[in-house]
C-alpha cells in the first residue's frame, strides 16, 4: 500500500482525477440544499458587490457633476451605500457559514461511511494493513477534505466575482469592456504558467518536507545506534543537505509566487486602469463624457482581477485534496470483507457442541496452515490445543471465530454448519478471551459492558465477582467507575486479564475460546487467573490454547499441532505415557518451573 501511495504522489491523470472528484462529491449529496443555498448567497454577494460602485457612479454623474447637491440627496446616496453594504455583509456571512457547515457535514458523512466500511472488513485487512495507515486515512485524509471543499468555495467566489463584474461592465459600456477583455488571454497564460510551475515545485517541496521529517523521526528513534557508531556529525551533515534542499524548493516556491501571483495580477490591474483611462480620455478629447463611469470601471476592474490571486493560490490545495480523496477511496473500494454467513442464517446455539471435520485453511490461498483438521468437543467438555508458534493453534481460533473464511471441510456447531448462524448469534454465544487483553479508554464498567447496553450494573458486579476481579476493582478509587487510561496502562497484565474475563462471562457464552497469555503475569494475580479460568470453563464447551501445560492437565482431549497437522491426540496421561512431543514439552516446562 505504501508503494501505491508513492506512485499517487507523482501525479494522477486528469481523467482519473475527474472520477475521483465525482465520487467524493457524491458524499455531499445529502447536503445538496445547503450547498445550493450557499451558491445562491455567493451570487448575491457578487451582485451586491457590483452594485456599490454603481451607486457612487450615479451619485457622481447624475448629481455631483451637475453642480450643487441637496443635503437630502447626499444623505440618500450615503444611506443607500451603507444599506447595500449591510446587505452585502449579511449575505457574505451566510454564504461562508452555510458553505462551511455543509462541507463540515460532508466530511462527517465521509468519515461515517469510511468507519462503517472498516467495520465490514475482515481480519485479513487488519492483519495486513498497518494500524497507522488506517488511522491516517480515517482522520487526516478526511480532515484534508475540508481544505478541498474550501477550494471549491474559492473557485465559486472567484468565478462569480469575475463573471458578474464583467457583466456590470458590459451594462455600463460594451466597447470598453471588450477592450478590457484583451487581458483575458494574458491572464489565462499567467494562470497556466503558474499552475505548471507551482504544482511541480509544490509537490517537490511537500515531498522534501516529508523526507525531512522522516529523517528527523528516524534520527530520534535510532539515536542510540547513531551515538554508538559516532555518526552524529555525518548525519548532521546529511540532514543539513536535506534541510538545504527543502529550503531551496521553498525558496523557489516563494520566487514563483512572487513572480506569478499577486504582484503580476496587481500589475495587470494597473495596466487595465491605463487602458480604461486611455479609452475614456481619448473619447473625452472629442466630446465631454461622464466621469463617474471611469470610477465605476476602475472599481470593476479591481473586482475582476482581485479574486484571481486566491484562486491561483488554491490550485495546489486542490491537488492535495485529490490525493487524499484517492486514498480514502482505496479503503472504500477494499473488498476484504468479513466472511459471509448464509442469507437465511437463523440457527441458534443450544448445547454448544463443536466439530471440525477435515478442515483445511490457508491465509494466502497457497500454503495451508491447517491441514485436514478433525476433532469434536462435546457440550461442556474442554479440548486443549498445544504446539509451537506457527503450528496452527491460532488459525483454528480464526476459523472458529469466523475471522477468516476456511477453504475445505466443515465446522459444525450443534451439528449445523457454522455458516448457518447469524454472525451476532455466534458472537454472543461464543466467548473469546484474547491473549493480550485490550482495554478501552473509559471506566472499568465500560470495559466489562463493552457497549452492550442490555447489561446491567448488577450483572457487571456479579461477573467481576465470579472471576474474582472484584477484589482489586473495589480497592480502586471510584471502584467500577475507575478510569481506564489509554490501553489500560495503569493496570497490570493480570488485572487486565481478569477484567477481560469478566467481560466475557457477563455475556454468559455457551462456548468458550481461550487464548492463554504468554506474557509474564505477576504472581499475585496468577492464581486468581487460574481459578477464574477453571470457573469459567464449568458447564461450557471450551477450546483452549495453552502455553502452560499444567493448566490443561484435566482437559478431555489434548491436540498437539505441528505445521498445521494434528500429530498427537489424547488425554494428558495417554500422551505422557506414549512419550512423544507432548511429553518433551511437558518435561521442559517442569524444569523451567523449578529454575
Amino acid at each position: 500500500m505504501e508503494q501505491e501511495e508513492l506512485s499517487k504522489r507523482r501525479s494522477i491523470p486528469f481523467k482519473e482525477q475527474m472520477t475521483i472528484i465525482k465520487r467524493i462529491l457524491s458524499f455531499a449529496s445529502p447536503y445538496r440544499n445547503q450547498f445550493i443555498l450557499a451558491i445562491f448567497f455567493s451570487i448575491a454577494l457578487a451582485v451586491t458587490n457590483a452594485a456599490l460602485p454603481r451607486i457612487i457612479q450615479i451619485f457622481i454623474d447624475d448629481h455631483l457633476a451637475a453642480g450643487a447637491v441637496a443635503l437630502q440627496t447626499i444623505l440618500f446616496f450615503a444611506g443607500l451605500h451603507l444599506g447595500v453594504t449591510i446587505l452585502r455583509m449579511t449575505v457574505w456571512y451566510f454564504e461562508l457559514y452555510i458553505f462551511n457547515m455543509a462541507s463540515e457535514k460532508t466530511v462527517q458523512n465521509i468519515r461515517f461511511h469510511l468507519f462503517k466500511k472498516l467495520h465490514n472488513l475482515g481480519m485479513r485487512f487488519f492483519d495486513q494493513t498497518s494500524t497507522g495507515w488506517i488511522i491516517t486515512r480515517a482522520t487526516n485524509d478526511t480532515e484534508a477534505m475540508k481544505d478541498f471543499w474550501h477550494v471549491f468555495l474559492t473557485i465559486m467566489q472567484g468565478v462569480f466575482g469575475v463573471v458578474i463584474s464583467l457583466g456590470a461592465m458590459f451594462l455600463l459600456d460594451v466597447t470598453v469592456t471588450l477592450w478590457i477583455l484583451i487581458f483575458a488571454p494574458v491572464l489565462l497564460l499567467v494562470i497556466r504558467f503558474y499552475q505548471v510551475y507551482s504544482s511541480r515545485t509544490y509537490r517537490e517541496m511537500k515531498s522534501k518536507l516529508s523526507l525531512l521529517n522522516t529523517k528527523l523521526a528516524e534520527t530520534i528513534n535510532g539515536m542510540s545506534v547513531i551515538k554508538q557508531f559516532r555518526q552524529e556529525r555525518r548525519l548532521q551533515k546529511e540532514f543539513e543537505e536535506t534541510n538545504k534542499s527543502y529550503f531551496d524548493s521553498r525558496f523557489s516556491m516563494v520566487r514563483i509566487n512572487a513572480l506569478l501571483l499577486s504582484p503580476v495580477i496587481n500589475m495587470l490591474y494597473t495596466l487595465s486602469v491605463v487602458l480604461i483611462l486611455a479609452i475614456f480620455g481619448v473619447e473625452a478629447l472629442n466630446s465631454p463624457i461622464e466621469v463617474g463611469i471611469i470610477y465605476a470601471f476602475t472599481s470593476y476592474a479591481n473586482d475582476f482581477f482581485r479574486p484571481l490571486t486566491r484562486l491561483m493560490d488554491s490550485l495546489s490545495l486542490f491537488q492535495d485534496g485529490v490525493v487524499s480523496s484517492s486514498r480514502i477511496l482505496t479503503v472504500m473500494d477494499n473488498e476484504e470483507y468479513v466472511p459471509e454467513q448464509k442469507d437465511d442464517a437463523n440457527a441458534k446455539v443450544k448445547d454448544g457442541k463443536v466439530e471440525f471435520k477435515n478442515v483445511s485453511f490457508s491465509y494466502d490461498g497457497e500454503n495451508n496452515v491447517l491441514n485436514d483438521i478433525s476433532f469434536t468437543v462435546n457440550p461442556g467438555e474442554t479440548v486443549a490445543l498445544v504446539g509451537h508458534t506457527g503450528s496452527g493453534k491460532s488459525s483454528i481460533i480464526n476459523v472458529l471465530m469466523r475471522f477468516y473464511e476456511f477453504q475445505k471441510g466443515e465446522v459444525l456447531i450443534d451439528g449445523q454448519s457454522i455458516r448457518e448462524f447469524p454472525i451476532r448469534e455466534l458472537r454472543q454465544r461464543t466467548g473469546l478471551v484474547l491473549q493480550d487483553s485490550f482495554l478501552f479508554y473509559g471506566t472499568i464498567k465500560d470495559n466489562i459492558r463493552l457497549m452492550n447496553k442490555a447489561i446491567t450494573d448488577r450483572e457487571i458486579i456479579e461477573a467481576a465477582r465470579f472471576v474474582q476481579a472484584d477484589q482489586f476493582i473495589e480497592d480502586l478509587p471510584g471502584q467500577y467507575n475507575a478510569r481506564v487510561v489509554e490501553r489500560g496502562a495503569s493496570f497490570s497484565s493480570g488485572q487486565k486479564q481478569l477484567i477481560s474475563f469478566a467481560s466475557t462471562i457477563v455475556r454468559d457464552p455457551k462456548i468458550l475460546i481461550l487464548d492463554e497469555a504468554t506474557a509474564n503475569i505477576d504472581t499475585e494475580t496468577e492464581s486468581l487467573i487460574q481459578e477464574g479460568l477453571e470457573r469459567m470453563r464449568q458447564g461450557r464447551t471450551t477450546v483452549a490454547i495453552a502455553h502452560r501445560l499444567s493448566t490443561i492437565r484435566d482437559a478431555n482431549q489434548i491436540l498437539v499441532l505441528d505445521k498445521g497437522h494434528i500429530v498427537e491426540r489424547g488425554t494428558h496421561d495417554e500422551l505422557i505415557s506414549s512419550g512423544g512431543l507432548y511429553k518433551d514439552m511437558y518435561e521442559l516446562q517442569n524444569i523451567g518451573l523449578q529454575a
Binding site: I74, H81, E104, N257, P263, L277, L588
Partner: protein, 583 residues
C-alpha cells in the same frame, strides 16, 4: 514585540536582505498612492474639460511605469522577506537537529518522539510566520497605512480624512478580538478532532475485541457521537470565522458612508473636486489591509513567541555526557578493568548495579548471562558511556573511559544491541553505517561473517533493497544479523553482542561465533545472552541477578556449582531437542 528582539541575532545576520526588502516595501507603499491620484487627476481634467492629448499621454505613461516598477519591487521584497523566513526556519531546524544528536538518554526519556517532532514542525512554522508574515505585516501596515493617510490629508482634505478614518481603529480591534476568540474555539475544535483520532485509533487497535464481542454497530454509534462533537465544535469556529470578512465590510461601509456624506458636501461647497473624491475613495480601500493586518500581527507575534519559547527550552537542555578537557585521543587498547561499585538510573532509587567487577584481557571473551531485567544491558550501557554518573570506575588500558574522547572510545567499540534499529535506507548503507565510503567487498565480507550474505542476495534487489519503514520487512533474525555485520565492519577493538543472537537458530549462531573468533584474534569480545550456547566458550562467564554477580567461572566450573547456570543449560538442551524434532 519581544519576539523581534529575541530574534534580533537573525535580523542582524540578514540585515542587508531585510533592509532591501523593507526599502522595497516602503517604495511600493509610496508608488501605490500614484494610481488613485492619477485616476483622480484624469477625472478632474475630463470633468473640467481641460484634458489634452499631451497631458493624457503624460499621465498614462506615469501610470504604466508605476505598474511595472511596482511589479519589480513587489517581486523583490517578497523574495527577500519570505525567503528570509524560510532561512530562519532552516537555521533553527538545523540547530534543533544538531542539538538532538548531542543529547543524552535522559533527554530522550523526558521528551517523546512525538513531542520533539511537534516542536520541529509546528513551532518552526510559528517562527517562520513571525519572520515572514510578522515583519511583512508590521512594515507593510505601517508604511502603507501612514503614507496613505498622509496622502489623504495633504492631497485631498484633512477634514474628510479625519472623519473617514474614525471607524478604522475598530478594524484593528475587531481583527484582534475575533482572532483571539477564533484561536480559543479553534483549540477546542482541535481537541475534539484529537479525541476523534484517539477513538479511531482505539477502534482499529482493538478491532479484534470489537469483532469478538460483535459490537460493530455500537462502536459505529460511538464514533458518530464523536464526529457530532467535532461538527459542533467546528460550528462554533465557523460562527466566528465567517464573521471576519463581513465585519471588515461593515466597518469599511461606515467609512464609505462618512466619505460620501462629507465628500458630497465638500464637493457641493466646491472645496474639493470630483477627482479628489474619486482618489479619496480609492485610498480608503487601500487602508483596509493595513488596519486589519495590525490586529493580525498581534496574533502572529503571540503564537510565534510561544513557539520560540518551546524551542529555546529544548535548546537549553544540557547533556550529562561530556568530554573532559584534554581527553585522550588515542584509541582504546589493552586490558578492560570493569569495577563499578554502584549505579542507579537517574530518577530511580533502586540500585541497578551493585559491585560488578571483572577484568578482561585484550583478546579475551567474557560471557554475561542472566534473566531479562537482571542488569546485563545496564553493565554494557556504562561501558558505552550512556551514563557517566556511577560509583567506581571502568578502565581501558589503565585509563578511565571517561578520560577518553568519545571518538577514541566509541569508534572502537562495536555494539550490537537487542533491538536492532535499521534506517530507511538500502541494506548496503545500513551495513556500512559507520563509514559510507567503505567498498562493496568490505560490506559483503562483513555480511558473510554475519551469515546474512545469502539472505541479502536472495532479496529482489540484493544489497540495494530498501529496509526500514518504507522498505521490505525483514525477520527479527535477519535484522539481528545485519546489525552484527554493521558492527563487524568497523573491526572494533571491543565487540559487544547484547543478546543479539536470540532470533537466529543454533546452527547459525555457531557459525557466526566461530567466524568471529577466527578474524578477531587479539581483539576483545563481550557476549551478553539468554542462551547459554552463546557464551559457553568464553574465558569467563558471569551470571547476573538483580544487578549483582551471583555466579562466575568457566562453563565447566559453573556446571559443577549446580546453580542457575546449570538449570538453564539443561532446560535449553531439552528445548533444542524439541526444536530439533520440529525440523
Amino acid at each position: 514585540m519581544g519576539i523581534f528582539k529575541r530574534l534580533s541575532w537573525f535580523f542582524k545576520q540578514e540585515k542587508k536582505s531585510y533592509m532591501i526588502g523593507v526599502a522595497g516595501l516602503l517604495i511600493v507603499a509610496v508608488l501605490q498612492l500614484i494610481p488613485p491620484r492619477i485616476i483622480g487627476i484624469v477625472v478632474d481634467e475630463i470633468d473640467t474639460n481641460t484634458i489634452t492629448q499631451e497631458s493624457l499621454t503624460f499621465w498614462l505613461l506615469i501610470l504604466a511605469s508605476t505598474a511595472v516598477f511596482q511589479y519589480v519591487l513587489r517581486y523583490m521584497w517578497r523574495v527577500r522577506i519570505w525567503g528570509n523566513a524560510a532561512k530562519l526556519e532552516q537555521i533553527v531546524r538545523k540547530q534543533l537537529y544538531d542539538h538532538f544528536t548531542n543529547m543524552d538518554n535522559q533527554f530522550f526519556q523526558k521528551y517523546r518522539t512525538g513531542d520533539l517532532m511537534a516542536h520541529a514542525t509546528n513551532d518552526l512554522r510559528g517562527l517562520r510566520m513571525v519572520a515572514g508574515g510578522g515583519i511583512l505585516t508590521m512594515a507593510d501596515a505601517l508604511s502603507v497605512g501612514l503614507t496613505t493617510l498622509l496622502a489623504m490629508v495633504f492631497i485631498v482634505d484633512w477634514r474628510l480624512t479625519l472623519l473617514a478614518i474614525i471607524p478604522l481603529p475598530f478594524l484593528a480591534l475587531a481583527s484582534r478580538v475575533l482572532g483571539r476568540k477564533l484561536h480559543l474555539r479553534f483549540r477546542d475544535a482541535q481537541a475534539a478532532f484529537s479525541q476523534l483520532n484517539d477513538k479511531v485509533q482505539e477502534s482499529i487497535q482493538g478491532i479484534k475485541v470489537i469483532k469478538t464481542f460483535g459490537q460493530e454497530k455500537e462502536d459505529i454509534e460511538e464514533f458518530s457521537v464523536q464526529t457530532d462533537n467535532v461538527v459542533l465544535k467546528n460550528k462554533s469556529v465557523y460562527k466566528i470565522d465567517s464573521l471576519f470578512d463581513p465585519t471588515i465590510t461593515f466597518i469599511m461601509g461606515i467609512s464609505y458612508f462618512l466619505t460620501i456624506l462629507v465628500g458630497g458636501l465638500l464637493i457641493s461647497g466646491n472645496e474639493i473636486s470630483i477627482g479628489d473624491f474619486v482618489t479619496f475613495i480609492n485610498y480608503i480601500g487601500m487602508l483596509v489591509w493595513p488596519m486589519f493586518a495590525i490586529g493580525r500581527l498581534f496574533n502572529i507575534i503571540e503564537r510565534g513567541s510561544a513557539s520560540y519559547d518551546r524551542i529555546e527550552n529544548l535548546l537549553n537542555e544540557d547533556t550529562s555526557i561530556e568530554e573532559r578537557q584534554g581527553a585522550i585521543d588515542a584509541p582504546i587498547s589493552g586490558e578492560l578493568n570493569y569495577a563499578v561499585d554502584s549505579f542507579r538510573y537517574p530518577d530511580d532509587n533502586t540500585e541497578a548495579l551493585n559491585s560488578i567487577h571483572f577484568k578482561l584481557e585484550a583478546g579475551g571473551t567474557l560471557g554475561i548471562v542472566g534473566k531479562t531485567g537482571a542488569g546485563k544491558t545496564t553493565i554494557l550501557k556504562l561501558l558505552l558511556r550512556e551514563y557517566d554518573d556511577y560509583k567506581g570506575k571502568i578502565e581501558y588500558g589503565r585509563y578511565d573511559i571517561r578520560d577518553y574522547t568519545l571518538d577514541a572510545l566509541l569508534k572502537h567499540v562495536g555494539y550490537v544491541p537487542q533491538d536492532n534499529y535499521l534506517f530507511s535506507n538500502t541494506i548496503r548503507e545500513n551495513i556500512r553505517f559507520a563509514d559510507p565510503s567503505l567498498s562493496q567487498e568490505a560490506v559483503e565480507a562483513a555480511a558473510k561473517l554475519a551469515d546474512i550474505h545469502a539472505d541479502i542476495v536472495d532479496l529482489p534487489e540484493g544489497y540495494d533493497t530498501e529496509v526500514g519503514e518504507r522498505g521490505v520487512s525483514l525477520s527479527g533474525g535477519q535484522k539481528q544479523r545485519i546489525s552484527i555485520a554493521r558492527a563487524i565492519l568497523i573491526n572494533p577493538e571491543l565487540m559487544i553482542l547484547d543478546d543479539s543472537l536470540s532470533a537466529v537458530d543454533a546452527k547459525t549462531e555457531e557459525s557466526i561465533l566461530s567466524g568471529l573468533k577466527k578474524i578477531r584474534t587479539g581483539q576483545t569480545t563481550i557476549i551478553a545472552a539468554h542462551r547459554i550456547s552463546s557464551v559457553m566458550h568464553a574465558e569467563e562467564i558471569i551470571v547476573i541477578d538483580s544487578g549483582k554477580i551471583v555466579e562466575r567461572g568457566t562453563h565447566n566450573t559453573l556446571l559443577a556449582i549446580d546453580g542457575w547456570y546449570k538449570d538453564m543449560f539443561e532446560q535449553q538442551q531439552l528445548e533444542r531437542k524439541i526444536e530439533g524434532g520440529d525440523e
